[in-house]
């Protein structure tokens, strides 16, 4: 089992959920406590192109849950709807990649090969150190 904690804004967001997103959150919350990063969706890239310490779980529709982990602790940093403005909207239209990320083909596991982020440190890890973004797995 993992401790689960939310930032105040994430807590406010989940309390405001209604209907199917709310039902999905109940499941995700239980899964995060039970499975940690294995229930956290896919790993996000950072602004430098390497792995970020954050993962993204599709909740329902455009709703996303962003998490990060320490040993034994799952932290939900943010919950919100992903709008796709500007350049990404154009990109999503042209590439058929939904602005809610539906078509993001590459979804590397949130957990690294050595179990990160449930355990360990990501410092110094590079994208090419892990399974590439080409490893496609369904995370929804």
């Amino acid at each position: 089992m993992h401790r689960l904690r939310l930032t105040p804004s994430a807590d406010k967001a989940v309390r405001g959920l209604r209907g199917k997103p709310a039902a999905a959150w109940i499941r995700v919350e239980a899964d995060l406590k039970a499975q940690g990063c294995r229930a956290a969706g896919y790993r996000l890239l950072g602004s430098d192109g390497n792995w970020s310490p954050y993962c993204c779980k599709h909740l329902y529709g455009r709703w996303r849950v962003i998490t990060t982990f320490e040993p034994g602790i799952a932290t939900v940093t943010a919950v919100g709807e992903h709008d796709g403005p500007g350049f990404y909207t154009q990109l999503s239209h042209e590439l058929g990649i939904s602005d809610v990320g539906r078509g993001r083909e590459q979804k590397p596991d949130c957990c690294g090969p050595d179990g990160w982020p449930t355990t360990g440190d990501i410092a110094g890890q590079h994208i090419s150190d892990h399974a590439s973004l080409g490893s496609v797995r369904s995370q929804r």
């Binding site: 105040p8 804004s9 994430a10 602004s47 993204c56 943010a78 919950v79």
Partner: protein
Amino acid sequence: MATALPKPRELQRMTALAHLDAEELLFEITNERASSRASSESPEVSSAELNTVLASLAEIAQRIVETLDAPIGVPVEQAAERLDVTAPTVRKWLKDGLLQRTEGRKPLEIEPRSLLELQHALATVRDGYPARQWSKALAAYLHDRDLQGQNWATKGRDEFERGEFIEH
């Protein structure tokens, strides 16, 4: 941006002015580098001094952009050279929406801003991927950058970094 292509004489005048500004920009940067080397024994530059220099450079750059306010993009071959890829790759990325074309230009030309954005994005991902995966890698990178730039995501990250949590 202007929509009509300037007449040759006007284009010549714009080019001359832009050339002048570009020379000034280079001159300013060269001077700043020289000053920086001269003061290497006391390399600390105040934030105010740095901002003054950056403001000066930005002003010149803005002047160049305004001078060259014409619907002229970057030819595919030049874009390919800038991105260090082949012309067919540039055309593919244009088709994929990773680049945008300058409307009304034939043969097709690339919008400079989209070229720069892609160049920046590419610099962050190209080391990690073989070329054949670049399109997908770029799409993933841009997706994640956009997601993590959402207001609610940055707010949550800020709270996380401040150690603000609620136990569930």
